[in-house]
């Protein structure tokens, strides 16, 4: 990187990029062409090494019969064509049925978690938009779940969900007498709600953080103008805040969705190996399918299917939201928000 910075004539610099006019400028042009690539090189190499090449290997593996006999030298594993995929999507057989169930659980879980995270995060950010006493403290407090390392936070929840010595049962049963007996939270059907609670507890501060940052980009004059025109608080939220936040929300919801859908850390720390069926998220499920049965070929096939699903969802989502965005811009133009604020 350091080899690319010899001293140059200042005059060349004033030209807009790509405006080479004389032969004198050739070295500058060459530099200008190669420099961005050199700057990108470290990131590119790392992304290739850690993400893209392994992904390709993963796809290759999904077409192999990669059981524990071949794991030492996986190149010699026999090709198995589409067998791994057939096993994964054969919903009548136990493997496929379990995968489908896990997928559906993950979809429901993700939708609920993202919706709740977004709702709580946005509501909290809106509530804390104008100054009041203790606002800074409260903001710091709200960010604690996000700042805590996942395992430390989730392990605390594991303790709270314990059957005999946990806080949740103590409050629900001993103090409020809401349940007949002490419930199990980390096994059985309740585990879904335990997982959802932890996921929302941990996830909503991120939505809060992003929406809070987004709110600061909305000019104050918009609100003042709207207020003078008699817009009430709710109308200001509906007509100014939410439309202005739309681009932020589009990215936020997508990021939340992908993170929640792929989340491994939370269920893994919460349930350990062997998640209960009601909370069998897809990441842990594939992990189990790979490492418990030592059948990495099938595990890879499941991962590839998962990736395809995420690609399709993301693609459709981006196509829908960007069309909507360009459509709106064509109709009103970016500056027109102020006019729409006149309610």
């Amino acid at each position: 990187m350091t080899t690319t910075a010899p001293a140059r004539e200042p005059a060349v610099r004033k030209d807009p990029p790509g405006a080479a006019r004389g032969p004198r400028r050739r070295p500058g042009r060459l530099r200008r062409v190669t420099l961005p690539y050199l700057l990108l090189l470290p990131a590119l190499i790392l992304e290739l090494l850690v993400h893209l090449v392994p992904m390709v290997i993963g796809v290759v593996m999904s077409f192999k019969e990669l059981t524990q006999f071949y794991i030492r030298d996986w190149g010699t594993a026999p090709w198995s064509g589409l067998d791994n995929y057939k096993v994964s999507v054969d919903f009548d057989a136990p493997v496929g049925e379990a995968l489908l169930h896990s997928f559906l659980v993950t979809v429901v879980f993700t939708l609920l978690s993202v919706a709740l995270c977004w709702l709580i995060g946005t509501a909290a950010a809106l509530c804390m938009q104008d100054t009041f006493r203790g606002r800074g403290l409260l903001r710091a407090l709200f960010l604690v779940p996000y700042a805590l390392p996942v395992y430390a936070a989730v392990i605390t929840w594991v303790f709270m969900f314990q059957h005999d010595n946990g806080l949740v049962n103590h409050v629900l049963h001993d103090q409020l007498h809401l349940t007949e007996g002490r419930s199990f939270w980390l096994i059985g059907d309740n585990s879904f709600f335990a997982l959802l609670t932890v996921s929302v507890w941990k996830g909503w501060p991120f939505a809060f953080l992003i929406v809070m940052a987004g709110l600061q980009n909305i000019p104050k004059e918009l609100y003042e103008a709207a207020a003078l025109d008699g817009a009430g608080m709710w109308q200001r939220v509906r007509r100014i805040t939410l439309p202005s936040l739309r681009p932020v929300n589009q990215v936020l919801v997508l990021v939340l969705f992908l993170w929640t859908f792929n989340d491994f850390n939370t269920p893994f720390v919460l349930f350990g190996r062997g998640a209960p069926r009601a909370a069998d998220l897809i990441s842990v499920h594939i992990y189990e399918a790979s490492f418990v049965t030592w059948n990495f070929g099938t595990g890879s096939a499941m991962s590839v299917l998962l990736l395809l699903f995420l690609l399709v969802v993301t693609g459709v989502y981006l196509a829908l939201t960007s069309r909507e965005r360009t459509g709106r811009r064509a109709r009103t133009g970016p500056r027109r928000t102020e006019e729409r604020a006149d309610v």
């Binding site: 593996m61 992003i210 009430g232 790979s290």
Partner: protein, 311 residues
């Protein structure tokens, strides 16, 4: 909703005193920006409940870490029967926590530094130059965010083992391999955020530096980077937290000497006993550096997000 009174020019903060119990008509005229009373109460209740939701686990963590073992094995009680700092002494000998701590510090620290430097270079290139393949690069980097970690866990493991066999560079089981892995986890978000941040630094600034004879890297480090410090701090915080909290790869890619906290913390539950007070104490100890750092720097994070990512 419709009770807004037109008092032009009233400052935003001017608000009717909340404590007055007088009938509505007797109140001084409210600013049009002042929120309605019902909202103030809803807000108070909502924020209180939310603070409770957030705080309960934190309270459990802190209070249980000060309880004797008998307290945490029996029925839960809000208050400890006696306060003891014993768990904080025992955590260091039950498992080699200090070693895990050092490992985590090295891994997360190195991953953060590398990730930030690489992200600065990439973001500068994307923000300041137009070149072929720019869009492909940004889209590719961003799309790696959606890869399920499980998809490349095993291939990466095999790749590291093969590289190790071929070149003698031990990536699997070493801190180096983990650093390499973690820094790419935070890289996409870091690049994305810094692109936005660098875009908001006026181009005239670095053009002026270029005119004054700085090379492009001189302009980057003397002008753009100093102007983008909040964004860079935000990215560093994010990168550190990502590396500090990761569980999946840490559990597969470390051995006894390189184990990090994420895996090491599981050592407090044996087959027969779960030392909940020690687990809580250890959780608190490993959380303090990140939470303290995060809360100190969260202003930068919000500022960085405001200028960068959410634009």
């Amino acid at each position: 909703m419709s009770e807004t009174v037109r008092t032009a020019g009233a400052p935003r903060t001017a608000r009717a005193p909340r404590t007055t119990k007088a009938p509505r008509t007797a109140r001084p005229p409210r600013s049009p920006m002042a929120p309605p009373r019902a909202f103030l109460w809803t807000r108070r209740i909502f924020l209180t409940l939310l603070a409770g939701f957030v705080l309960v686990p934190v309270y459990v963590m802190v209070s249980s870490s000060l309880k004797p073992l008998a307290d945490v094995t029996g029925t839960f009680h809000w208050l400890p029967s006696e306060l003891t700092i014993r768990p904080y002494i025992d955590i260091w000998s039950t498992v080699p926590l200090a070693k895990y701590f050092v490992n985590s510090l090295i891994v997360a620290g190195a991953a953060t530094v590398c990730s930030v430097v690489i992200a600065v270079f990439s973001a500068y290139a994307v923000s300041r130059y137009s070149f072929r393949g720019k869009r492909v690069f940004t889209v590719t980097v961003l799309s790696t965010q959606m890869f399920p970690g499980i998809l490349f866990l095993l291939p990466l493991f095999l790749l590291y083992v093969n590289i190790g066999n071929a070149t003698g560079i031990a990536l699997f089981g070493s801190r180096g391999g983990l650093i390499l892995t973690y820094l790419t986890f935070s890289l996409p978000f870091s690049i994305w955020m810094l692109i936005g941040y660098f875009d908001s630094v006026p181009r005239d600034l670095d053009e002026a530096a270029l005119v004054d004879g700085c090379g492009p890297l001189g302009a980057l480090f003397r002008v753009v980077v100093p102007a983008a410090i909040p964004g860079i701090v935000a990215v560093a915080v994010y990168a550190f937290m990502t590396a500090w909290g990761e569980v999946l790869f840490a559990s597969v890619m470390t051995n006894d000497t390189t184990r990090t906290l994420a895996v090491g913390l599981q050592g407090y539950s044996t087959q027969y006993d779960v030392y909940w007070n020690q687990i809580m104490a250890a959780s608190l100890v490993v959380s303090v550096p990140v939470v303290a750092g995060f809360l100190l720097l969260q202003r930068y994070l919000v500022a960085g997000l405001t200028a960068g990512a959410v634009k």
